[in-house]
Every structure is written in structure tokens, then in C-alpha cells.
């Protein structure tokens, strides 16, 4: 059991490393690749973007407080049962720093296309091995997802 955990942690670290570097150029390369091949085939899978409808999300440098406020309401209703805003794990991981760990596209795809992401995405699967509870699809609208992301940014200190 411990070994598995170490292995998983190691893979996550590797993946994280692979995804690091120049974010913008990596994202561009992968987008190009995914246009050539079917998005569901693994070589074209963009682990930074995840699987889902969001290919590019415009995120401003500063916070949109209205969006964040709306996102907090969604959080209270649909997310707070399992996620704290600190780094403490409850049922799922705490949200502190989540916008530094994942791109906006990945987060928004994960919260709207949960099952497919859990079946496909290496980082989501690694997290599942830690939490052992498949994140429920809470049927967030596209706007809900964007607003929740903005609330996450606020939680991570974006002003």
C-alpha cells in the first residue's frame, strides 16, 4: 500500500515536471497536436487542459470580484461538503493553491466533465487513489465553472 502511494506520488511529480516550463508554448504545441488527431486518443491528450469543452479560458491578471462572489455561492451549495478552502484534505483535496497546480481549462473541464476526466486524466486518477471517492459530477453550468474558478483565484490571493 505504501509502495503504491510512493509510486503514485512519484508519477504525479514526474507529470508535474513534464508539464512545467513555458506554459504558453506547451499549451500551444499541444493544441496543435490535438487538432491533428482525435482528441480521445492518448498521444494527443493534453494533460494540462484535460478532457472537456474548455480549450481556452481567458483569465485576466486581476480578480473579477462579481464572478468570484457568484462562484463562492456555488461553492457553498455544491462543493463545500467535500472541499475546504485551506490546504486541508476533507473528502477531496483542500483548494488552497489549486489554481497554481492546475490550469483554468483543466479545472473547468474537471468540474464539468468529471467522469471522463477521472477515467482518463493521470492527475485526476492519482488524486482518486489518494481520496478513494470519485468526485461527484455536480452538474455545474459553464458559467458556474468559470465563477468557481474565479473564487478559487480569490482564495489563492489574486486581487
Amino acid at each position: 500500500m505504501k509502495k503504491t502511494f510512493v509510486y503514485v506520488a512519484f508519477s504525479v511529480a514526474l507529470l508535474a515536471a513534464a508539464c512545467g516550463g513555458n506554459n504558453q508554448s506547451a499549451s500551444k504545441d499541444n493544441t496543435a497536436a490535438s487538432e491533428e488527431k482525435k482528441p480521445s486518443e492518448n498521444p494527443s491528450y493534453d494533460p494540462k487542459r484535460g478532457e472537456g469543452k474548455f480549450t481556452h479560458v481567458d483569465v485576466a491578471a486581476t480578480l473579477d470580484p462579481k464572478m468570484a462572489e457568484s462562484g463562492e455561492k456555488v461553492y457553498q451549495l455544491k462543493c463545500s461538503s467535500c472541499h475546504k478552502t485551506t490546504d486541508e484534505k476533507l473528502v477531496g483535496p483542500g483548494w488552497k493553491g489549486v489554481t497554481n497546480r492546475h490550469a483554468a481549462e483543466w479545472i473547468m473541464n474537471f468540474v464539468t466533465n468529471t467522469d471522463e476526466m477521472l477515467n482518463k486524466d493521470p492527475q485526476a486518477q492519482a488524486q482518486l487513489e489518494i481520496c478513494l471517492v470519485r468526485m461527484p459530477n455536480q452538474n455545474l453550468s459553464d458559467d458556474d465553472a468559470r465563477h468557481v474558478y474565479e473564487f478559487m483565484r480569490k482564495n489563492d490571493g489574486v486581487k
Binding site: Q76, S80, S81, V133, R134, P136, Q138, N139
Partner: protein, 662 residues
């Protein structure tokens, strides 16, 4: 000894061979052809082609099967409590079973009618009847839940019900037992039946958009038994037909005394005319108490409302609403063919099936070809209404459905068979055995303008040796026959719940796309809903304690509750925060005198629990929801009545003190 056995074997094999080649199919082995299995086979993971809504009889519920596989998809609780689903036990559903007699936790559900538009099944609602305490329910086919139940005054044994008009303008319900009307003193000698008893048929209006029911009017008829009914269609639009028995007006030993006359009646009702009279103010408002219960998918709760009045039209005074047509020997089924021209009455004790012609009935009325009156209602001459008779169809004809290709199939209770005959020439075309004693039968859309005649299903009253024995009580059964060819072919037989009476089936495409997957939590308008874990709370109001609880995979909030006292009534208002298909959570607490809750995603349901003893009372989720389902549990602490343990509640916070293990 060995030789003898061998000889015996040889003889019996020879006999078997002989008999196999000689006799016609008498048992299941010979009645089922080799390709039957493939015709009923629906591969794992594949959908059935039809939904089949089957009455649950004395279970009081409605079952839903897939066809042709015969797989049981769901049992929808309607008139009986269902502890599995909390139906009739949760505070939100209790009002649904309210009647003028108080809470009635059981009934006998006989007939099923899918809503129609232009004489075709539209897949919106299914109506069902309660036979014992007369009621009609509407089940919403978006949620597969009972949405509404309306009680019927002046009625008893609501049997010729709930059949509908071509555009679901009305649900019609005729009383089986005639009884004294509700607004007079019913304390009369039973043998004054002829003088004091009346028969009422109810026309329940249905709102086109919402489906909401309300009794538009009742027609007061002579005291006889109304058995079954069906709407006219096409040329007979605006008419409704009822089978009537006990025209002898017997009040005892009906088995003998209601079987005296050679002919009873089919009653033809011109309901368009009745509407005109109603508009013209010919109806009489009569005091009558009945309740109307509705369930709301937004508040996730139900309301029971009592009504005090009903409008009655008298068939005797308004001569041209109702006509009797003589029909041989205690008619049961009363079925109208897809063209609307032919009305089939099935006399239970008759050796023939009469087929009446709507156009002839109209000419007979116009030409006053009457045989006098029965209790003030004109009786049309038999020959003036008759199209023809099916001779020697079998024994005990009960019900008829239609294939839309000019043929009818009639169930024969006494001779245990289905008989196919041609409507035009009235010739018998085919017959197949049923196992055993078939009652109702169903062809998808078989009572509409457009049957989808791939199968006919027989619903059998007796199964005897068909399945492994299970003590004295055996399941009833359904049998599916392929009717795409000239010969009806048995392809599957399976047990049913309760006793199946009428059933209807429809192409799955009409319904499956509308199925609700979960209730939107944002739209939850239950006054006790908890929208988000941050809003959970426990509120004491005197000796009532309201627990506003949420659940999500895999915990309840709060899951530690203290400060409850003996004598408290605790209301667990549990909101399921999930927003995903097929993720209900259950809620059960030790010692509950009612049942569990089964809470659909986005829904709030309430369980009342009375604290009777001090101690620790565990609760848990009953519906396996996740890998940590077994962790989804909590504790309620009950202290003595005068205790000063403060009211506290939390999840994940009530941790042991540092020295608590000492």
C-alpha cells in the same frame, strides 16, 4: 428387474414419440418454438424496445417492465405505502395517501391508461385507479412518480376506471358497486337497493398542460354495476362506452342472482352532449366530500385539499346523454377498435362475442329503435345496434385489444387462451393457449387509434406449475407472444408483482428522452431544504427538533447530534446535495417506527423520529453510494427529559478530549 426397466423405457419412449407427433400443443415444451429465446433476448446493456406499465393489483402499485425482455425496471408506489422508498412514511409524501377516511395505506390498483393526444399515446402521464377506496392517480412519466391522487365521491369499487378520452380531456371512472349517494343518509336496509342505491360515473377533467385533475361532473345512472369502459374515437369521438352487469339489481348472492338475465347492457354515453347540458346549467351542485392530493417536484412535498361539492347530471332527466344496448350475459370488457366504428362487448358467460356498430347505434337513436326504457334510460334494440357476432370464440371472453390491421385479440379466461379474429368477417383466425386463466391482455397502443402490434401480452391469474413452487402463494404471470406473423407465438413468460390486471405498453422512444435525471438543487423549494453544508443546523421548537441535514458521498452533516431529550419529536430534513444521475442516498435511524428515506439527488425528504429512550442512536446511509458508503453514518445522543446537555451538532469536529481514553 433390469430387463423390465429397459422394456418400460422402450415402451414409454415409443409412446412419447407417438404422442409428440400426434397431439397439438398442450404444454409449454411444445408451444414454444426454437427461435423464441432470440425474440425475447435483449443483450446486457441494451435497452428494451417498449415500456410496459402493468397494474400491480392488490399490491396497490404500478410496475414497469421492459419488453420484450420482461425485465422489471421499476415498481412505482401509488396507493400503497412503500417503506423502501419512504412513500407514505416521509412527511412529504404522507398527504398523498390521505382520504376522507383518513390515511389509507393500501389499495387495489386495476387499470392503467397512458395519456393520449389525437388518440395516440403521448407518453406524458399514466393514469391508474384505486378500486377499494375510489381514487384515480396520475403518474408523471418524467419522474416515474405519483404526482396526483383524486378521490371520487358517490362511488364504491372504482372499477370501470381510469379510461380516457382521445385527447385526455377527461379521465372516466364508473362505480362498480352502486351505493346510496354520499349526501343522503345511507343507513338503509340493504334490500332496498332498487329504491335507495344509485350508480355514478365521474368525468375528471385533465389540464392540458399540467395534467392536474378535477372532477368536472358526475352522471347519475340507475343502480347497476359498471364494469369497464373505453372511449370512442374517430367517428365515435365524444362518446364513451361502459359495460354494465347486475341489471337484475341484486343485492345478495350476485353469482346467481346477477346472472339471471339473458342480456345486460353496454351503456353508450354522449359526453359532448353532457358538456352542453353542463354549460346550459342543467347540472345540480350536490354536497360531496372528497380529497385531492398533489405532489410538487419543486417543493418535493405534497398537499391534501378537501373539496365539498360536485356537479351531477341526471341520466334519467336528460334523456339523450345515456343509452343502453343489450349485451349478452354479464359483459366485462368494453373495447373500441382503432377506427372507432366497432364496440366489442365480452360477456363473461356468453358463448359468442357481440360486435356493435357505432353508425348503426346512431341510426337506431335517430330512428328511435328502442325496446322501451330501463329505469328511465332508452334501451336500443339489440339487432339495431349489432354489427355481428363472433361465433364460438372460446369460453369466458374477457377483454379485447386490436392490432390495427383489422384484427382483434380476445382473452378467454375459462378456456385459457388468446383468440385472434377478424373484425370485418368475424372469423376466428388463430388461437394460442395461456398458462393459465388469462385476464387482461395488452398490445402496445392496443386501445388507441394506432396500435404498434409487435407483441400481445397475456396477464394470467393462475400459474400453478409454471415456476418453482413457493408454498401456497404463487406469483401471477405475464406471457409475451410475437404477433408479427399469422400465428401468435409464445416467446417468454415471467412472474409479475401483485395481480396484474390491465396493462399498457408504448415504444420506449416516446418516454425515455424525457426522463428526469436529478432535481436541480437550486430549484429545490422545500421549506426545510438545506442548500449547502454551511447552512446545516438543528433547531429546537419546544419538544420538536428540526435537523436540517445534508448528505453527499460519503457523509451526513451534521453526523454528531447531542442535546435531544426523551419525548422529543425529531424531524430529519435530509437534503441530498448530489447533482448526478442515479446517486440517491438513504437515511435510516435505529428504532424508527416508520421507514427509511430514499432521497434523490437535489431533493429534500423528512423522517419523523420520536426519542423514546435515552442513549446513543446510530443512523446511516442505506443506499450504497461510494467506496466509503459504509463510513456514511452518524450518532444521535438522547438524554433524559430534564437533562441539561446542550443542543450541539457537527461533522468532523466532535473530537475526543486528550484524556478521553482514560
Amino acid at each position: 428387474m433390469i430387463t423390465t426397466t429397459k422394456q418400460l423405457l422402450a415402451i414409454s419412449s415409443a409412446a412419447l414419440l407417438l404422442s409428440a407427433s400426434a397431439c397439438k400443443p398442450k404444454n409449454a415444451a411444445t408451444a414454444v418454438s426454437s427461435d423464441a429465446a432470440s425474440k425475447a433476448y435483449v443483450a446486457p446493456g441494451k435497452y428494451d424496445e417498449f415500456y410496459n406499465f402493468v397494474s400491480g393489483g392488490f399490491s396497490g402499485q404500478l410496475s414497469v417492465y421492459g419488453l420484450p425482455s420482461g425485465r422489471l425496471l421499476r415498481v412505482i408506489p401509488v396507493f400503497s405505502v412503500d417503506p423502501e422508498k419512504g412513500w407514505g412514511y416521509s412527511e412529504e409524501t404522507k398527504p398523498m395517501l390521505n382520504t376522507t377516511h383518513g390515511n389509507v395505506p393500501w389499495d387495489d390498483l386495476h387499470h392503467v391508461e397512458l395519456s393520449q393526444t389525437n388518440g395516440e399515446i403521448d407518453g406524458r402521464w399514466v393514469f391508474v385507479n384505486a378500486n377499494n377506496t375510489p381514487r384515480v392517480a396520475r403518474v408523471d412519466l418524467k419522474t416515474f412518480r405519483t404526482a396526483e391522487i383524486i378521490e371520487l365521491p358517490n362511488s364504491a369499487g372504482n372499477h370501470s376506471s381510469p379510461f380516457i378520452t382521445e385527447n385526455t380531456e377527461y379521465v372516466i371512472a364508473g362505480t362498480r358497486f352502486s351505493v346510496p349517494p354520499d349526501d343522503v343518509n345511507g343507513d338503509v336496509p340493504i334490500n332496498t337497493y332498487k329504491k335507495n342505491f344509485k350508480g355514478y360515473i365521474s368525468f375528471i377533467g385533465v389540464d392540458k398542460t399540467t395534467g392536474k385533475m378535477d372532477i368536472s361532473f358526475q352522471i347519475e345512472c340507475p343502480a347497476i354495476n359498471f364494469d369497464l369502459s373505453h372511449t370512442g374515437k374517430g367517428p365515435s369521438s365524444g362518446w364513451f362506452f361502459f359495460s354494465c352487469y347486475n341489471t337484475e339489481q341484486a343485492n345478495t348472492l350476485l353469482e346467481v342472482n346477477a346472472s339471471q338475465r339473458d342480456k345486460d347492457f353496454i351503456m353508450a354515453v354522449n359526453w359532448k352532449k353532457a358538456e352542453e347540458y353542463l354549460k346550459a346549467g342543467k347540472g345540480k351542485k350536490v354536497p360531496a366530500k372528497y380529497v385531492h392530493n398533489t405532489y410538487d417536484d419543486k417543493t418535493h412535498s405534497s398537499v391534501s385539499e378537501t373539496k365539498n361539492e360536485v356537479t351531477v347530471l341526471s341520466a334519467k332527466d336528460l334523456k339523450d346523454i345515456c343509452y343502453f344496448i343489450p349485451c349478452p350475459k354479464s359483459p366485462h370488457g368494453c373495447d373500441v377498435d382503432p377506427t372507432g366504428e366497432y364496440i366489442v362487448g365480452s360477456g363473461k358467460l356468453a358463448a359468442l362475442i357481440p360486435v356493435f356498430s357505432f353508425s348503426k347505434i346512431q341510426s337506431a337513436i335517430a330512428g328511435k329503435q328502442f325496446d322501451g326504457e330501463y329505469d328511465g334510460i332508452p334501451v336500443i334494440k339489440y339487432d339495431a345496434a349489432l354489427y355481428g357476432e363472433v361465433q364460438k370464440p372460446g369460453l369466458g371472453p374477457l377483454h379485447t385489444e386490436f392490432d390495427g390491421k383489422g384484427n382483434a385479440i380476445t382473452s378467454m379466461f375459462v378456456s385459457s387462451e388468446l383468440v385472434k379474429w377478424n373484425i370485418k368477417d368475424l372469423k376466428v383466425l388463430d388461437r394460442v393457449p395461456t398458462y393459465y386463466s388469462v385476464g387482461h391482455l395488452c398490445i402496445p397502443g392496443g386501445d388507441t387509434k394506432k396500435p404498434n402490434a409487435k407483441y400481445v401480452i397475456a396477464y394470467n391469474k393462475i400459474t400453478k406449475d409454471r415456476y418453482l413452487p413457493t408454498g401456497p402463494e404463487l406469483a401471477q404471470s405475464a406471457q409475451i407472444y410475437d404477433i408479427t406473423g399469422d400465428k401468435m407465438q409464445l416467446i417468454l413468460d415471467y412472474p409479475t408483482i401483485g395481480e396484474p390486471h390491465y396493462a399498457q405498453a408504448v415504444s420506449a422512444d416516446v418516454i425515455k428522452g424525457n426522463s428526469v435525471k436529478f432535481f436541480k438543487i437550486e430549484e429545490n423549494a422545500n421549506p426545510y431544504a438545506t442548500k449547502g453544508e454551511g447552512n446545516t443546523k438543528v433547531v429546537r421548537e419546544g419538544n420538536k427538533v428540526h435537523v436540517y441535514m445534508t448528505c453527499i458521498r460519503s457523509h451526513f452533516t451534521p453526523d454528531n447530534i447531542e442535546g435531544i431529550k426523551v419525548g422529543d419529536e425529531v424531524y430529519f430534513h435530509v437534503t441530498n446535495l448530489e447533482q448526478d444521475w442515479d446517486i440517491p442516498h438513504g437515511f435510516a435511524i435505529k428504532g424508527a417506527n416508520n421507514a427509511e428515506l430514499l432521497i434523490m439527488p437535489g431533493e429534500t425528504q423528512t423522517l419523523k423520529w420520536v426519542a423514546e429512550k435515552s442513549g446513543i442512536w446510530p443512523f446511516y446511509c442505506t443506499d450504497f453510494c461510494s467506496a466509503l458508503h459504509q463510513e456514511m453514518q452518524g450518532y444521535l445522543r438522547v438524554s433524559p427529559a430534564g437533562s441539561n446537555v446542550p443542543l450541539t451538532y457537527s461533522t468532523g469536529k466532535n473530537l475526543p478530549a486528550a484524556d478521553s481514553t482514560k
